[in-house]
Symmetry: C2
Amino acid sequence: MGSLHDVVENTNVVCPPNPLDPEEFRRQGHMIVDFIADYYHNVDKFPVLSQVSPGYLRECLPDSAPNHAEPIEAILQDVRNHIVPGITHWQSPNYFAYFPSSGSIAGFMGEMLSVGFNVVGFNWMSSPAATELETIVMDWLGKMLNLPKPFLFSGGGGGVLQGTTCEAILCTVTAARDKVLTKIGRDRIGDLVVYCSDQTHCALKKAAQIAGIHPDNIRALRTRRSDAFGLCPETLRSALADDVSEGLVPLYLCATVGTTSSTAVDPLRGLCEVAAEHDIWVHVDAAYAGSACICPEFRHFIDGVEGADSFSFNAHKWFFTTLDCCCLWVKEPQHLVNALSTNPEYLRNKATESKKVVDYKDWQIALSRRFRSLKLWMVLRSYGVANLRNFIRSHVNMAELFEELVTKDERFEVVVPRNFAMVCFRLLPPLGGLSARDCGLETANAITKRLLDSVNATGKVYVTHAVVGGVYLIRFAVGASLTEERHVRSAWMVVQEQAEALLAEFNVHPVMQEQTDAVLTAAVHG
Amino acid sequence: MGSLHDVVENTNVVCPPNPLDPEEFRRQGHMIVDFIADYYHNVDKFPVLSQVSPGYLRECLPDSAPNHAEPIEAILQDVRNHIVPGITHWQSPNYFAYFPSSGSIAGFMGEMLSVGFNVVGFNWMSSPAATELETIVMDWLGKMLNLPKPFLFSGGGGGVLQGTTCEAILCTVTAARDKVLTKIGRDRIGDLVVYCSDQTHCALKKAAQIAGIHPDNIRALRTRRSDAFGLCPETLRSALADDVSEGLVPLYLCATVGTTSSTAVDPLRGLCEVAAEHDIWVHVDAAYAGSACICPEFRHFIDGVEGADSFSFNAHKWFFTTLDCCCLWVKEPQHLVNALSTNPEYLRNKATESKKVVDYKDWQIALSRRFRSLKLWMVLRSYGVANLRNFIRSHVNMAELFEELVTKDERFEVVVPRNFAMVCFRLLPPLGGLSARDCGLETANAITKRLLDSVNATGKVYVTHAVVGGVYLIRFAVGASLTEERHVRSAWMVVQEQAEALLAEFNVHPVMQEQTDAVLTAAVHG
C-alpha cells in the first residue's frame, strides 16, 4: 500500500488549470468510458459476490487524503486493484440475488447528461426542463402501466421521481398523517395506526417510525401460505375494527405487488374496498413487479389500483434505469404539498407565484434534486415500449426455464408459485432413509441454507434467501441486463453440483437423524 | 414536434441485442462525453437563467412514449433543441445564484464509475467496497476539516454520505427524538421542541415536521443585524427556559455556519454551552461554508463544533462533487442506528452478525444507496488538499474583488459583512433629491428587486435575492467551477449597466416621491 501514492505525491503532478476544463474532461471521459466498457466485457469473470474480508480496504489505502493532485491513471489503477475486488457485481450476468439492479446503456447515458448539466432542480425556476421533462415522462410511464387517469397530470394527479421506495412511502405516510391530523388535531399523532402484512418490505415500518407513528401502532398482519402470502382483506377488516374499537385512528395501508421474499401479490381490489370503509390512505408498493405491469399479460396484478391513493415502483430495479429512481404517482398531489412544502423568501419567484408550475421540492423530503427524468426518458426512447416489454418477457421466460429445471429434479421443491421472474426453491434431500419433507422443517431449512452458502462460495453465481411461513428458501431472481439463457442454465448446474456435494457428504458419513439435525441446526444459526 | 419521432418510428430501428452491450456502450459513451465537453466549451454563451415559459416542453414532445426504439443521435438532437433551452446553467461561469453547484472532472468521473458499477450498497455485504471506501473517505475529509476526533470512525464516531442536508437533518432529528422518547415515553412526542434561528434553512422546519414534531414546537429564534444575523446564545437560553417552564422538552438545536440568506455564522461555542445545560442534540449545518473550513484561515468559523453532536456540509455545493453528496458526521452513530435500523430476514448475513462492519442502511432514511464515496474519493485524489484549498481561496478572492467594486460605487451598499465567497448588496440610488437611505426601506427594497429582475433578464448573469432584517438584497455567490475573474468583472458591468438604465428611467421621468414609491412598491409585489 501507499507506494503508488508516495510516488505520485513526490513527482508533484500539476493540477489542471480548471477543475472543469473541457479538454481535460474529454480526455478523462473517454478513458472512463473505455474502462467501463471493458468492465462489462469482463464482468462475468469476477466472483459475483465479493470475497473480501471486513476492513480489507483500510489496508490498501493511506490514512489521509493526499496533499497534491494524483493523475487519473493512478486512481484508475487503484480502482482496478482495490475497488473492483470489493464489489459485488450486480451487473454480472450471473447475479441472481435480492432484486436486479438492471443497468442499461440508455440509463447510463441519461445519468451522464444529468451529471454533466448538474442542475439543482428544486423548483421549476431553477431549471424548467428538469421539472417539465419529469411531468411528461411520468405521464408517459403512467400510460404504459395503464394507471387510472386520476394518477396522471393529465387527470389531475401526478407523478414524481423519488430516490427510493422508502422515500416514496415516507412522503405518502407524512401526507396521509397531516391530512388526518389537520382534521382531528395534532395531539392525536399517537393514535394513528398504519397497516401492512408480515410480507411487506421493512421500508414501511421504518418510514412510519420516522414519521412519528407510535411503534406499537404498526400492524404487520399475518399472511398464510394458502393465500400465497397475499394479505387477506378480511384480515385487514378485522384489524381495523379492533383498532377503531380501541379508539385508535386507522391511517394508512401499504399493499404490495411483488413482495421481497417471494413476489407475493396483495389483492388490491379487496383491500381498497375495505380501506375505503375507513377512509384510509392506500399506497401500492410495486417496487419490483411494477415494471412487469407494462406488459398486458401482467397488468392484472395491479387491477384494483384505481381504489388506491398512491402507487410506486422502482425503475432502478427491473426497468433498465440506473440507481436511484423510484416512480411515485399520487391522485391528490395537494396532500404531499400540504405536508412537505416550504416557501422561504430566498426561493420566491414569479413562476411559483403564477401557480402554473410544479415545484417538486414540495413533493419530496429533500429540497435539492437531481435531473432524474433524463435517464428515464432516454430509457423509454432508446428502447421503446415494445422492446421494454420484450426485455421483461425474456427475463420471465428465463425464470420459467429455471423453474422447470427445478421442478424436474425431485430433490428440489419450488416453494411458492412463480409470479414474475423470480423462483423460490429449496433442497429436499432424502436423509437417513426419510425424505426431508418428513424429517422436519428445521432440517430442511438447514440444508437449504448450507446449499446457499456453498453456491455463493463458488463465486460463479450469487443468490440470496428468504424465509416465508417458516420455510427457508433460495430466491433466484432473473433480471440483470446481461443475463442470457446460458447463464441461467449454468447457474442451475452450479446449484446441482453443490447439492450433490452436500448430499455426498451425508452419504459418505451416514449419521443418525438427530445428529444430522444438530449439525444442520448449528449451520443455520452459525 | 413529432416529425423526428415519426420518422424514427417508421423506419423501425433495430434495438441493440442487449441493453448493456459493451461495444454499443462504448460507442454511445464516447458520443456523450464529447457532447458534454462541447457543452462546457459553450456554456458561457447560453442565457444563464432559462428563458422558457411554463409548459414549453409539452409543446415539443409527444404525448406518449414511442413504441419502437429511437437512435441516440435523434435523442441527442432533442436534448440540444428542447432540453438545453430549458436548463438554467448552473455550470456557467456567469452563474452566481443561490449557492454554487460546483461540478468537476473528478466528480463526474467518480459518478460515472459509480453508475457503471451500479451496485446497491445498502449493507456491507451487498458491496463491501462501497461501504469501506465511504468510511475511509469520511475520515479523510473529517481530518481535512480538523473535526474533533470523536466525529471520526477512528475516534468512535463516524461519517456517512447522505443525499442532501434535508436528509441529514431528518436523520439526526429522528435519532435525537428516539433517544429522548425512549427515556420519557413515546406518548410525549407532542412535548418535544426544536430550535433554530430565523435565518436557519427551511430544511430544519421540514425535517422536524416530517419527524412528527408539533409545528407549534419549532422555534425560529430572532436574530439581529447587530449580531450579523447569528443566533445569540442568550436568546437560546431564554427560549429554553420558557419552554421548560411550560413543561415542554427541549430536543434539538440546528446551528448554522453560513446561512443561505447572508452566510451568517451562529456562534457554535456559546450555543453548545447553553445546549449542554439541557442536554439537547446540537447539529451544525455548514451546508455551504463547511467546504471553506478545509482552509486553516477559515477553520475558526466552526470553532466550538466539539460541543456538537453532529455536523454536515454539502460536497455538492462548493466542493467540486456533483449533486447529490451531503457529508454527515455524528459522535454516536448508535443513536442513528437505534432510530433507523431494520433487520428483515432477507438481509441477514454473516458480516452483519459479526458486528465487524458498518451497514449504512441504518444511518439513513432509504435502504438502497448509491456508491457516492467514489466521486468524493476521486475529487480528493485528483486535486489533493492543497489544490482544493486554492480553488476555495480563488473563489473567496473573486468575491472580495466584487465586494470592492460594489463598495467603490456609492450608489450601492454591501449589506452584511462578507464571510466567504458571497457578497450581499443592494442599490441605494438618489431619488427625488433624497438618498434612498432616507427614502424608506420599501423604496430601497423595490429598486433592488427591479435591478435583480433586469440583471437576470439580460441572460448574461444569474443572481438571486434574500431578505434579511427586512432588507431586500442581491446575493452574488462565486463558486461555479468555470468562473474566472473576468466573469466577475463582466457581471459587475452588467449590474452597473442595468442600474444606470433603471436610474435613467427615473431621471427622464422625474416623479413625486409618493408616485415613485407606488411604482416601486407595485414592482416588488408584482
